[in-house]
Structures are given as structure tokens and as C-alpha cells.
Symmetry: C2
Subunit: 326 residues, 2 copies
């Protein structure tokens, strides 16, 4: 079977491709387990560090319908659509965010509709669709009231994916992801970038600036758990999706203070002391509008997973860094 991964050169994209290569099979659009023959790995940036004959890396503009036509042929079984402009950047560049986070998603859905194959289409959405007056725990019936252009674009894409699925154009699944922590590498332009930074930098001996208050509550998921859930979201039979195609993922609810406390337990006082609080009003406004806890009843019933505790998330990050360096 043929699979497309967009945003393939990003951290999650590369992890997902490695996982798919390891699995070797997925459920195809006919509902049968089938060997993965080809993964088209698409991104605006070049793909590094993956060398496998099944992977065809391509670069280009995901919002260009001509490009999408070249990317997706009639043999496509599945699309994992991870490409996105992150929240901070989408807030700074409105046109770019709308073009990539909404128009590109629409163009992908439209291409799959034209091919008429009812392909599986797994997309990562975000808790940034929520905002305004929120209860302490947000349940699946909570209205979407995004306070950022990123959240707006993701919510619009969610609605479109649901309608394309309802009409039988695609077999879509949109996973509302928590903030993914701990991301390795460098900071990015997501408003939530600090949430990885305040663990990643101190662990490697560097100082990290936290732009939000210690009592800010975040909804988190580890990279390994995210990959597991993305694959699970693909594998679920459509008949189980009785509560709709847009699924609020489970997660781990921790305050920034609890994250620093966990860092202290796992990596010591010196590491925890490297987190410096310097409020950034723009980042704080976006992050504070997100929910810190979701019931995710529907997702849990569908078998999506959450991390057990944040200490383990840090320990796994340190272990992964050690393996990557060795």
C-alpha cells in the first residue's frame, strides 16, 4: 500500500515514518492489513536521517494543488497530514497560516475526493481550538472558541474533514493533540515551544526562559505517545467512530510548576534552577486560552492512550537523547 506523510521532515513526521517502517503494515482503505510498499515523505524542508528504499522524499509547497496532484495518485491508501504552520508563526503571518493550515488541508481533501478512493486521512489538530471561558476540565461537548488564528484554522480544517468524511469523500480522522513535550532539537515558533524548552535546555546544561506563570496548566503528551495515537487513529475501523471524526486526545494535565518539580526530581536541583521565569504577554495570551485538562471520554473509549506521569516523560526524553548521542 501507498502512504503519504506531510510535514515529514518535522520531528513528529520523522518519528512517524520510522514507526511505519518498523511496523511494515497498516490497514489499507479496504480495511485489510497490507504491507507498506511506499511512503511518500513530503515537506517544505529536506528529509534527513531516513534511508529506506520504501521512502520517497519530496519537497515542495503543500498548498499548491499542482504539487498535490503530483504527490497523490490513484494508488494512495492513506494520508498522514502533519504539515502545519505552528501557532506563534500563524499569529505573526496570518496569510501563511491560513494558506498552510486550512487551504492546504482543503486541497488534500479535494484531491482525495477527486480520486474517489475513500482514503484514510489522519490529521493532527490541536487543543488551540478551545478558548474563552472554559471549565477546569473541558469535555467533548465544549464549544470551540479559538483565541488564535492557528486554532481557528485547525477548527475550520476539522469541520471540513468531518464533512468530507460524512459525505464519503475520505475516511478522515482528526486528532486534537495536546502540546507535545519533550521535543528534542531547537525551539520553534509554536507558542508552546517553551514547554519542551524548560525541560530540554536544563537537562543539557543550558538556561531556559519560561514566558508563562508557574501556575499555568498545560495539557501534554510525549512524542512516543503521540506517535502511538496517530497510528491508532489510522487503524481504527470507521464504524467505531460513532462520536464523529474529530477526537479530543487524552493527555497529562500538569502545571508549569509541577513540570519544574518533576525536573528537579529526575535531573536535580541544578537543572531545575536553570528555568527562569520571564513573562511574554503575547505567548501568555495564547497559551492561557488553551484548556489545561480535558475529559477526552470519546478518545479513551476508542483506545487512545495518555502518558502516566510527567517524571517518566522526562526520563524517557533523557534516555532517548542518550541513545541518539551514542
Amino acid at each position: 500500500m501507498e502512504v503519504l506523510v506531510t510535514g515529514a521532515a518535522g520531528f513528529l513526521g520523522r518519528q512517524l515514518i520510522r514507526e511505519l517502517l518498523k511496523l511494515g503494515t497498516l490497514t489499507n482503505r479496504a480495511g485489510q492489513a497490507q504491507r507498506i510498499e511506499r511512503i511518500t515523505a513530503f515537506d517544505v524542508a529536506a528529509l534527513d536521517g531516513i534511508d529506506d528504499p520504501r521512502v520517497r522524499a519530496m519537497t515542495g509547497d503543500i498548498a499548491d494543488p499542482g504539487q498535490i496532484e503530483r504527490l497523490i495518485g490513484p494508488g494512495i491508501d492513506s494520508v498522514f497530514h502533519l504539515a502545519a504552520i505552528v501557532s506563534g508563526q500563524a499569529e505573526q503571518d496570518f496569510d501563511l497560516g491560513l494558506r498552510i493550515n486550512f487551504d492546504a488541508t482543503r486541497a488534500l481533501l479535494e484531491r482525495l475526493r477527486a480520486l474517489g478512493a475513500n482514503s484514510r486521512f489522519v490529521m493532527t489538530s490541536s487543543v488551540a481550538v478551545f478558548g474563552g471561558a472554559l471549565p477546569a476540565t473541558v469535555d467533548d461537548a465544549q464549544v470551540w472558541a479559538p483565541q488564535s488564528s492557528y486554532g481557528t484554522e485547525k477548527a475550520m480544517a476539522d469541520l471540513l474533514l468531518a464533512d468530507y468524511s460524512r459525505r464519503g469523500f475520505v475516511d478522515g480522522r482528526s486528532l486534537r493533540m495536546p502540546t507535545i513535550v519533550v521535543r528534542p532539537g531547537k525551539p520553534n515558533r509554536a507558542a508552546s515551544s517553551f514547554a519542551s524548552g524548560i525541560i530540554r535546555e536544563p537537562v543539557s546544561g543550558a538556561q531556559a526562559i519560561c514566558p508563562v506563570s508557574p501556575d499555568t496548566r498545560l495539557w501534554l503528551m510525549s512524542p512516543a505517545c503521540a506517535i502511538q495515537n496517530i497510528v491508532h487513529g489510522h487503524e481504527l475501523p470507521a464504524r467505531q467512530l460513532t462520536g464523529g471524526r474529530v477526537i479530543n486526545m487524552p493527555g497529562l494535565s500538569v502545571s508549569v510548576q509541577e513540570m519544574v518539580d518533576a525536573l528537579r526530581r529526575v535531573a536535580g536541583d541544578e537543572a531545575a534552577g536553570r528555568v527562569v521565569f520571564e513573562r511574554d504577554a503575547a505567548i501568555d495570551a495564547i497559551v492561557s486560552s488553551w484548556p489545561g485538562n480535558l475529559s477526552a471520554v470519546y478518545a479513551r473509549a476508542l483506545g487512545f492512550a495518555a502518558d502516566g506521569d510527567f517524571d517518566s516523560v522526562i526520563r524517557h526524553f533523557i534516555e532517548d537523547q542518550r541513545l541518539a548521542a551514542s
Copy 2:
């Protein structure tokens, strides 16, 4: 001041233009009451029955950005965007619905953004954004889960309007309208068309087919109340819109059986006997997914109005018909 009305040749559009001409003034984009100098009345169809030097009627394609540029110049103060493909037709012609209900709205918002005037932009949205498992009374925090392409497109337009407003590109207000009853004239391709038909036709001596069950509960508003609310939605100062730019309108919750009972009280047994129940699965599926009752707490606090009782709605319709015929 200059005003644009889209969907101007439709029933609500014509009523709104008549009301604006009668009022003579509106609050302009600077927040000052100002005389209406010009109403551009735009529609795909020709505008009949309005002859006033302040009204400039234009026909064309509302989804054509070139057309929109000609329609909207830098002097624009306010846009009333009523143009839409109704629910039944949007379900039958997916591309047309998406193009008019979403792309055209986006193009209008984009034109106003380019002009940089922070114009007031009042749009009619719909309770069709709701669906799935709904409580008996839907409150303002209820998630949107449209079960039709029309509802999907309106929800996407709502999100975009809210973000354009948050960013200060426009001063937008989206009014989530109930089903408007009783519409005069001919049936249209809205799934809810029957809700007017089962009053309008029997009153004029004709039979009407009701495609849904008598216990189906509808959320209704009379045309006069709708016009009053659309003008009120325009006049509200932006600072009052603390609960967001997308406002679930108040309404009247009545079952189809209660509508027929009211018809019997107002127009007699013979009229009520002209309503024939013949279930249409496609229409029933769409209409049954809509909420039959909303708390509309936010809208009521903002001073939006609802009809008192359905008997009066029928009486006003009969009176209006008599006046129109005389």
C-alpha cells in the same frame, strides 16, 4: 454612510433594505449615528419591488473577488451578508455550497481587510451548525457538530469572521438564526422550507406536505423579529461583545404538532386539515439533527428578541399577506 446588502433579492434581504430605508440612519464604523446615503443591493437575481434613489441594485457572482472589489470601495461602513445557498441545495451541490457559503464570505472579509476600515460585518449563520447528541436545551457552550454541508460551511464562516474580528480586520457579528417562519412566496430548497409551507399553503387554501414527524421540535423566528435582530446585531457596540462574535439567537421552540394546533386555532379546522404528513428521509435527517431549543443566554443579555408565541406569528403572517394583496 454606505451599506452593502448581499442576498438582497431574497425575502429577508428585501425586508432588511425596506427597514434600513425606513430607519434612515445606522451607526457607522466610527460608532456615530449617520444618515444612510447609499445601499448597494447585491444578488445573483434581480431586485424587484424596491424603488428608492438610495438603493443601487447590482447582480453578479458573490464568490468572484473581482466582483467584490467592484462592490466594496473604501467608503464602505457596513456589510449585511445574507447571501447563501440554502441547506437542501448545499447538500445536493457540494461545490456550490462551499463556494457561496464559505469562499464568498471569506472573499468579503478579505476585501474589507484590504481596505483596512474595520467595517461592521453582520452575517446570518444558522442552528444547522449543531448536531449529534444534543441536550433538550442547547446552551452557548455546546460544541458545533454539523450534520450537513450547509451547517459545516456556516460554522467555518463563523470561525473565520471571529478571527478576522479578533485581529481587527473587521467588526464582525454572526447571528445564528433559527428557522425563519412564515416565509411568504414559494417553497425554496432549504431543508426547513416545509416549516413555512405548512402554514403558508393551508392559509391560502392549498395542501402542504410535512416531511418530518409531528413531534419534531423546531427553533423558530418570525421574519419581523429576524429583521429587528439583524439591525440590532449591527447596532451593538463592539465593546459589548464580550462573549464573542458568534451569537446564538433566541427563538421560539415549537413542535410541528404545536404549529398545526396553532394553525387550527388561528385559521380553523379546514386549514389545519390541509397539512399532510409524508416523511422524506433526506429532509428528516437534516432537520432532526438541528436543536429544537436553545438557551441563547448571551444573545438575550445583548438584547436580541424572540417571538412571544406561535399563534401571533401566524396572525402577523396573515395580516401581512392581506396588506400585500391590498
